[in-house]
């Protein structure tokens, strides 16, 4: 066993560290910088992205010919580990570069790749992903947004939901139904949609935590040229699975929730009516439990990095991270808020330094157990794809979709 980077990766890390020290704005404190509004966030993100692109750090594992870094997934993870130390704007380009661009490279025509990839990597254009719908969440193939071929174009009508970043995106990946008489999974097609096209209306969704990170997107008679089609008509399900597969390469991404270190940190300083919180046996037991989980996940990331180094791509076993960390964040947040007694009912900003991160885990922890695959779907993925258990018998996959939906 050897925890060191390979000589090439060590050199890459040293260079990345040096570059970040010279170019990244602020060292990271506890919790993330809140950007006052989208315009400020996007402007900051665009500036940071163009700096990274100029240095070859914008899309490290993507090919050089499209403006990527031509490096390895391991190097991309190394850069992320180093970048995490700084308060740089996250959340604007991650979906585009992590999921949409790799999909374009895998499925797009040469013309599509030339038109879109380099501009996405440089930060000139922002991407989002339009998959989920009000009646199609975990059961994504139940989606009803329709695309109908009219001449050389497709006309799209329907509604998408939970679209992160739709409000500032230029383009999106759209999964739509092109044949309602085909079976559920066979009638879908994957497109590129221009988010500024007439008929696209983005409405922010006000969330439980008061934030507005997600959107509803209403599509009314939106025209998509046929050259923006990424799969053969009816081949959209396999295309969407390609997109979701790239999500797994998002190894070790910090989802911004608190872990055992926050629990230790706060409980060491917190006086309760019965004494210091970190002296309480129940608190200590949760500290141990939480540490076993988040330290265990860190070690599993080392396993994934080891496999990447051997040329193996991360598999469905990656599902474990979010499954464990999100519900644990809720548990820790609830424990810490409990320790504040009646004060625990106040909003985070009223509780003092460090408590906004606790409140965010209390609220956003709930979202993270749903976004990107619910806990329940992730358990199914582990059971079926890792442990080899049979899929549930279902009766919705063999009938024409329009009979099922009726």
């Amino acid at each position: 066993m050897d925890f060191a980077d390979s000589p090439i990766d060590a050199q890459f890390r040293a260079q990345a560290r040096e570059w970040l020290a010279a170019h990244a704005p602020v060292t990271r404190g506890r919790g993330r910088v809140a950007w006052p509004d989208d315009a400020t966030l996007v402007a900051a993100a665009r500036e940071w992205q163009s700096k990274k692109a100029a240095a070859g750090y914008a899309a490290i594992a993507l090919p050089r010919e499209y403006g990527g870094g031509g490096g390895t997934t391991t190097q991309q993870i190394i850069f992320r580990q180093e970048e995490e130390r700084y308060d740089v704007p996250f959340g604007v380009y991650e979906i585009g570069l992590g999921m949409c661009v790799p999909t374009l490279l895998a499925l797009g025509s040469d013309k599509v790749k030339e038109r879109f990839v380099a501009r996405a990597i440089s930060g000139a254009e922002i991407w989002c992903q339009l998959f989920s719908e009000p009646a199609a969440g975990s059961d994504l193939a139940a989606l009803r947004t329709k695309a109908v071929k009219t001449g050389e174009n497709w006309l799209v009508d329907g509604q998408k939901v939970w679209t992160t970043g739709a409000q500032f995106s230029d383009y999106g990946l759209l999964l739509a139904r092109t044949d309602s008489s085909a079976t559920k999974h066979a009638g879908l097609t994957l497109f590129i949609i221009d988010m500024r096209a007439p008929g696209v209306e983005v409405r922010p969704i006000r969330q439980l935590d008061g934030g507005v990170e997600f959107n509803e997107v209403f599509l009314s008679g939106v025209m998509i040229p046929d050259e923006f089609r990424l799969t053969v008509p009816g081949g959209g399900w396999a295309g969407a699975m390609t997109t979701l597969m790239f999500e797994r390469l998002n190894v070790g991404a910090n989802i911004g929730l608190i872990d055992s270190s926050t629990l230790i940190d706060i409980s060491r300083r917190l006086e309760t009516s019965t004494g210091r919180a970190s002296d309480d046996p129940h608190v200590r037991d949760i500290i141990a439990q939480a540490y076993l989980n988040d330290r265990g996940l860190k070690l599993l990331t080392y396993r994934t990095l080891t496999n990447l180094g051997r040329g193996q791509l991360p598999g469905p076993e990656q599902s474990i991270t979010k499954l464990v960390i999100a519900s644990q964040a809720q548990l820790i947040a609830n424990l810490l808020l409990d320790l504040r007694g009646q004060e625990g009912a106040l909003v985070g900003s009223a509780l003092g330094d460090g408590w906004e991160a606790v409140e965010r885990s209390w609220s956003f922890g709930a979202a993270m157990r749903i976004a990107g695959g619910t806990d329940e779907i992730l358990r199914n993925v582990i059971a079926e794809r890792v442990l080899g258990l049979p899929a549930a018998k279902r009766d919705d996959t063999t009938r024409p979709f329009n009979e099922d939906a009726a």
Partner: protein, 351 residues
């Protein structure tokens, strides 16, 4: 980054698993529940494969390969639920290696390396000692039955007692897991020799890391059995493995095992390299693996329904062994408490 055993060791792990599956099939483990007999074939096999000698330096008949082969063997022992005196291999051997006097090492290590002797340990005992003679009772002692030598604590020091002495009495106790024998040992002014070192912590950490691997091996086999069963057993017109109630249970077991395995591997690295973070890593491995095996044994039995409660099923083998392994070297709640104390004091791991 190479967070895995070397290819040679991965091969050794496969060999160990296959050899023990043959020498100690689950049918043998079931028989042991009635007989309480040690699986001599499996023990001899570990001797032949050099496992018993690996924690022992070449000066004393060992092969000096260190703790990693023992960890791998422990996983295979857990997988096969083998009835062998592991306390001798996991705990007593490293303790004599690290704390024995040269005479004690010369007397016992070659015999332990060849498997012709086994040793038991009760480092938490509080016996009376006078003029190098020990008096008192220790109970329950794991691996005590048939042990050639015992390591005990008296007057806050470690002592070694040759069990061939006349003034020692061993009495077998009834254990929930007869594959892990427990006994009561009575010393009546029994001659003992003092051990020169008293750093018993290293050997204790060695023991709990090995037990963690054994727990992971057992939990994995229990999970595999439940997966096989749930792919075949039908209810309500479907195989039960297609139902989410079963899937989610098995996914949760797998998750706990994967996390425990990661902790155990790191602790093995720490043990093998003499890293300073061993106490923290070993406590994490111990707490994590104990939880994983208890949970796996309990919930895989549940997956088998009524059959899981029969003697004929394998479920009770894991259920018994998980309990026996949770009971040794202090309860998980204590290990979690120690772990929390270290974390609150600001201890961290090296990597």
């Amino acid at each position: 980054m190479e967070f895995d055993f070397s290819e040679d060791y991965r091969l050794l792990a496969d060999q160990l698993r296959r050899a023990l599956e043959e020498a100690a099939p689950l049918e043998a483990a079931r028989k042991t529940v009635d007989t309480g007999q040690i699986n001599v074939t499996a023990w001899e096999l570990l001797g032949e494969m050099g496992i018993l000698a690996s924690g022992i330096s070449t000066d004393f008949g060992g092969n000096g390969l260190g703790p990693l082969p023992v960890c791998l063997a422990a996983e295979a022992i857990g997988w096969s639920v083998a009835a062998i005196p592991t306390a001798s291999l996991y705990h007593a051997t490293p303790l004599i290696q690290s704390c024995g006097s040269p005479e004690q090492q010369d007397r016992w290590l070659p015999a332990l390396a060849s498997g012709s002797a086994t040793a038991c340990v009760a480092t938490d005992s509080a016996l009376a000692v006078e003029d190098d003679h020990i008096t008192g009772v220790i109970s329950p002692v794991s691996g005590g039955t048939g042990a050639s030598v015992a390591i005990v604590r008296a007057n806050n020091q470690l002592w070694l007692v040759d069990m061939a002495e006349n003034a020692v009495e061993q009495e077998a106790l009834e254990s929930r897991d007869p594959g892990r024998q427990l006994c009561r040992i009575t010393f009546r002014n029994t001659p003992a020799t003092r051990m020169t070192g008293d750093d018993a912590d290293l050997a204790l950490n060695h023991a709990v890391v090995c037990v963690a691997f054994e727990q992971i091996g057992g939990a994995s086999r229990a999970l595999n059995g439940a997966i096989d069963y749930s792919r075949e057993r039908r209810a309500f017109g479907q195989t039960i493995g297609s139902y989410q109630a079963i899937k989610h249970k098995l996914a949760d077991i797998w998750t706990k095992i994967e996390i425990a395995r990661a902790h155990a591997m790191y602790a093995a690295w720490s043990l093998g390299t003499g890293a300073v973070d061993l106490p923290l890593a070993a406590a994490a491995a111990r707490a994590s693996a104990t939880e994983a095996y208890l949970f796996a044994a309990q919930e895989t039995l549940q997956v088998h329904g009524g059959y899981g409660f029969t003697f004929e099923s394998d479920s009770h083998l894991f259920y018994r062994r998980a309990r026996a392994l949770a009971a040794c070297y202090g309860p998980a709640v204590e290990w979690r408490s120690r772990l929390a104390a270290r974390l609150i004091a600001g201890e961290t791991t090296k990597h």
